[in-house]
């Protein structure tokens, strides 16, 4: 079936990682999404999306070493793979093309 297209939520997660850079683990991603979309975001949804994106090779992750202060629990940091960047740019291009020529949205009576 070739490349599966990105779901809306997956795109949002990828953009959040892009924005957060090296600080990308679940907590800031959730907060970033909540702030930008002004909606409650479920950590479980983010977790599932990240796992799926990783399976598809769009992001990669590494475990940061655990420290005793955090109860010996590591953090999992995520990073975009080059393919993800391509896909994001592509979908942005498509959107922009679609919007081209459409004037400012007028509120409908």
């Amino acid at each position: 079936m070739g490349k599966k297209s990105l779901g809306e939520f997956e795109q949002q997660v990828l953009v959040a990682i892009l924005r957060l850079g090296s600080e990308s683990y679940t907590v800031p991603i959730v907060l970033e999404l909540e702030e930008r979309t002004e909606r409650a975001v479920s950590p479980a949804a983010v977790y599932i999306a990240l796992r799926r994106l990783e399976k598809r090779g769009l992001v990669s992750s590494r475990l940061e070493a655990a420290t005793p202060e955090a109860g010996n629990r590591p953090r999992r940091y995520f990073r975009l793979e080059p393919e993800a960047l391509e896909r994001l740019q592509e979908s942005r291009r498509i959107l922009e093309r679609l919007w081209e020529g459409v004037g400012p949205v007028v509120e409908q009576g």
Binding site: G7, E8, F9, E10, Y25, T26, V27, V30, S42, P43, A44, A45, Y47, I48, A49, R51, R52, K55, L63, A66, E69, A70, G71, N72, R73, P74, R75, R76
Partner: protein, 910 residues
């Protein structure tokens, strides 16, 4: 803790569940992420809401994970909203199943949220029921189910010495124990231990604390190593070597601030110097309640009374317990058979000795006494849960009848019966699991409350806690209750299914008749089970009332008691002991507010020091040794009798003139007089302890008879007792008894000062009023009664609520019929009567079944009751009457509601 500031920890149980749902490689990281989010939320909106949020995340992780299992598409996150099970284009079955289950759960949650009143009542009922069951179960689990915390603990046994009848479980004597130890082959090891009071000075104050004198192989037999340093060792701690001591973890922390350099320090206990060589791990408590274990200087444990210089050779005094570990491959029966052989061998060698040895699993010997009452409590709380289930089932039935139309529509548009059934069951399971979660968190508190109420002397209390088994029990209980009360409405669907697509009036009526029958059956069951609990509680209450009416044989008003046990090593001569107590009594007698002060070896009712010894009566020769008279040994001062208020029946009591210079005298109690001088006056007769051997036995003259006291407790017959004046010889273990003008407990400090004025290092312990001593002696019965009464009252309330609900519903359903009757001339009284009749009728039926069940079940409680029979008519009658009364009250409101039906209104709507 360090993390205190950094933030609260999320609920532990929730976190554990969360981790269970995740793949192992993600667990730690996700738990950390969620903790971080939780802490942010907690500081923003408070712990409670954050906790609720966290729980919701756990659910959300679980459901999403479940779905993710079969599919990888983004849309799945939202899922189809429709409630149709048709199979679209070849989706895998698993996916459909998972999706539809998640749908069901969501649907159930939405439905419950729509009817908050119902949900609240159901959750409270279930939560309380499950909390009570879980609390009792955690106690049962900790005490009865968990194996003892020793390696291969099922091989550990306790050995009891038994006399001719073989039933009484007694301590061992030194020589007897060593015979067994040397001759037996069934044991990998045998060790002796004896709990003793040790006078120590801690933090500058003299205190009497409980320790154990143990043989050096004690820890090897149990298989427990020290946490710090070493425990005792057969290689090093041989009899005659330096005295050493191993302390408990608790004592190490509280007395020594967990100081690791404690090893090698010395502890003065009972005037002996012990080197501390180790600290046992936390939780090690055998025998119960001891703070340390001291090596015995002999091959056998030390004795609280003087048994001579060579305790190992003493055969006629028994003072310690023996624990053993079976050889691998040896069974309990083999060990017991071997003990019988050894007993025969000993009997051949010492014809005067008639004793055997009983081998009992250590676990059984530790928990034996409380087993019955714990199981009865567990059974009772199970019944309570059943009643709660019946109530929730009733609620669900009422709710289901309101949803007939919805279900009919769903069936009409193609939902299969199984599909609907599954959804109903899911709904009750969701309800039950929510109830379970509430119950579990309440139970965490409940268990602690339960233990704080529990009387002293319940074994293994320290081991009670919440573990995975308790969690499993809660989950299983919740699931089982969910299915149980879910069955009722689910069964409806099957009946209803007959009407399928046509919710016609006729069909509805048959369905509702069936439903009524089911509701009624539930009520009958509830009443029956409530009666069981009421009768159980009634039996316990009656037992306590019976015991409270027992004459203890003394007058404990305004009497303070305080144990003043002096170290035998410091007070070696009889004169030292006598002088100490005489000076102490003199000082206590001058305390303002003290009316009189005496001393005794062993207080009535709470036993304490118990020694039963044989004695001889002048002029009588027993036929054989087993036939020798025996009596409890008591020592008392001249003021004891008036202080504690035991009546003098004949002759005289001791005076201060009965001292070591004067001829020996004793006073006996009524029970002893009746037994050995049934037709004679014992006053003036002479007796002596042991066998009257030798030229000039140490005869003592009986000078008086006093009333019986309940020595072993109010539920035991009085024992035979011989009192001797302390001035003619005493053990160093007397208890002061002080009668005061006012509240005796206010004298405690003054008594303590008086004792310290005589010996500054002498501790006073167990200060309590005699009333308290009497009260405590019924502790475990009171505890059982309290719990059973709580269960019974709860059952009564639940049954009443259930009955009320059913009748109210019936009335509202039948308001048309009632209205028409009234329009046709039925009188208010008749309407009320009909409804009442229904309520009372159901109750009576339930009572009939309940009585039959109770007769069968209360027999199991026989060992917990006293003075009445297990089928005590009063308990049954009171329980039944109470239930009838409450049922009448519960029916009254719906009955009046029925009488208020306005016939005109009804006719108009018809």
């Amino acid at each position: 803790m360090m993390a205190g500031r950094a933030g609260k920890k999320p609920p532990k149980l929730a976190e554990r569940l969360l981790i269970l749902t995740l793949p192992p490689e993600d667990r730690a990281a996700v738990a950390r992420d969620l903790t971080e989010l939780y802490q942010m939320r907690a500081s923003r909106m408070g712990g409670l809401r954050a906790t609720a949020w966290y729980w919701w995340q756990v659910v959300s992780f679980a459901t999403r994970q479940l779905k993710e299992g079969g599919t990888g598409r983004d849309e799945q996150l939202i899922g189809p909203r429709s409630d149709v099970t048709a199979v679209p284009g070849g989706r895998p079955y698993r996916e459909i199943l998972v999706n539809s289950t998640i749908q069901d759960i969501r649907y159930a949650v939405r439905g419950l949220a729509r009817t908050p009143g119902f949900t609240l009542v159901a959750l409270v009922t279930l939560g309380l029921g499950i909390a009570a069951s879980t609390s009792i179960f955690s106690v049962v689990n900790g005490i009865l189910l968990r194996p003892l915390p020793y390696p291969d603990s099922d091989r550990l046994v306790e050995l009891f010495r038994t006399e001719d009848d073989g039933q009484q479980r007694d301590n061992h004597s030194g020589a007897n124990y060593l015979d067994i130890k040397r001759q037996s082959r069934s044991f990998a090891g045998l060790a002796g231990h004896r709990s003793l009071r040790y006078a120590v000075v801690l933090d500058g104050t003299p205190r009497l604390i409980r320790g154990a004198s143990v043989t050096s192989d004690f820890f090897e037999v149990l298989g427990i190593r020290a946490a710090v340093g070493r425990s005792l060792s057969t290689a090093i701690d041989v009899p005659g070597s330096d005295r050493v001591i191993v302390i408990s973890y608790g004592m190490w922390r509280s007395q020594y601030g967990a100081d690791p350099s404690i090893l090698g320090q010395t502890l003065q206990a009972n005037e002996q110097s012990y080197a501390i060589v180790g600290v046992m791990p936390p939780g090690f408590a055998f025998p119960e309640d001891v703070l340390f274990w001291a090596s015995s200087p002999f091959e056998v444990p030390e004795s609280p009374v003087d048994v001579g210089d060579d305790p190992a050779s003493v055969r006629d005094l028994s003072w310690f317990s023996v624990v053993g570990r079976l050889e691998p491959g040896a069974t309990l029966d083999q060990a017991q058979a071997e003990m019988t052989l050894i007993a025969e061998r000993i009997r051949r060698e010492y014809p005067n000795v008639d004793e055997g040895t009983l081998v009992v699993p250590l676990h059984e010997s530790i928990v034996g006494d409380v087993k019955t009452s714990l199981l009865v409590l567990l059974g009772s709380v199970g019944f309570l849960l059943l009643i709660a289930c019946a109530n929730v089932a009733n609620l669900l039935l009422v709710r289901a009848s309101g949803r007939e139309r919805e279900i009919a529509v769903r069936m009409a548009i193609g939902a299969g019966r199984i599909r609907i059934l599954r959804q109903l069951v899911t709904e009750s399971l969701v309800l039950a699991l929510m109830g379970g979660a509430i119950g579990f968190s309440l139970a965490l508190r409940g268990t602690r409350a339960l233990l704080s109420l529990a009387p002293d002397g319940i074994p293994r209390v320290a081991e009670v806690g919440t573990d995975l088994r308790v969690l499993g029990f809660t989950l299983a209980t919740a699931a089982a209750t969910g299915i149980l009360f879910g069955l009722a409405p689910a069964a409806q669907v099957f009946y209803f299914g007959a009407g399928r697509s046509a919710p016609l009036a006729g069909v509805r009526q048959t369905a509702s008749r069936r439903r009524n029958r089911m509701r009624n059956a539930l009520i009958v069951g509830e009443v029956a089970v409530s009666l069981l609990l009421l009768v159980g509680a009634g039996l316990m209450v009656r037992t306590l009332v019976t015991l409270a009416a027992v004459d203890p044989g003394f007058d404990g008003d305004n009497v303070l008691t305080a144990r003043v046990w002096i170290p035998a090593a410091k007070y070696q001569e009889d004169d030292d002991i006598i002088t100490f107590y005489r000076e102490t009594l003199d000082r206590v007698n001058t305390i303002p507010g003290v009316r009189s002060a005496g001393a005794v070896l062993s207080l009535p009712v709470n036993s304490g020091i118990n020694g039963t010894f044989t004695f001889s009566i002048e002029g009588r020769v027993p036929e054989d040794d087993a036939d020798s008279p025996a009596a409890g040994f008591q020592v008392a001062s001249s003021d004891y009798l008036t202080t504690i208020g035991i009546p003098l029946l004949r002759g005289r009591w001791f005076t201060d003139a009965d001292d070591s210079q004067a001829p020996n005298v004793v006073v006996i109690n009524q029970a002893l007089a009746d037994r050995y001088w049934p037709d004679e006056d014992p006053v003036g007769k002479r007796l002596t302890w042991g066998n009257a051997e030798g030229e000039d036995p140490d005869w003592a003259t009986v000078v008086g008879i006093i009333g019986n006291t309940r020595h072993f407790g109010l539920d035991e017959p009085p024992r035979l007792e011989i009192y001797q004046p302390y001035l003619q010889g005493s053990l160093p273990y007397l208890t002061l008894v002080v009668k005061s003008e006012t509240d005796p407990i206010t004298l405690t400090a003054a008594v303590r000062r008086a004792v310290m004025a005589v010996d500054p290092a002498q501790p006073v312990s167990a200060a309590a009023t005699m009333e308290q001593v009497l009260f405590d002696s019924l502790g475990s019965r009171r505890f059982n009664m309290l719990l059973l009464v709580i269960f019974a009252v709860t059952a009564l309330v639940l049954a009443a609520v259930g009955l009320y609900g059913v009748l109210s519903y019936t009335v509202s359903q039948r308001s048309n019929e009632i209205g028409i009757r009234m329009a046709l001339g039925a009188r208010t009284g008749a309407v009320i009567g009909r409804v009442m009749q229904e309520g009372i009728g159901l109750t009576a039926l339930g009572l009939g079944i309940g009585v039959a069940g109770a007769v069968g079940l209360t027999r199991l409680m026989r060992s917990m009751i006293h003075g009445i029979s297990a089928t005590d008519p009063a308990s049954f009658a009171i329980g039944a009457t109470l239930l009838l009364l409450i049922a009448g009250l519960a029916s009254l409101v719906p009955a009046f509601k029925a009488s208020r039906v306005d016939p005109i209104q009804v006719l108009r709507t018809e």
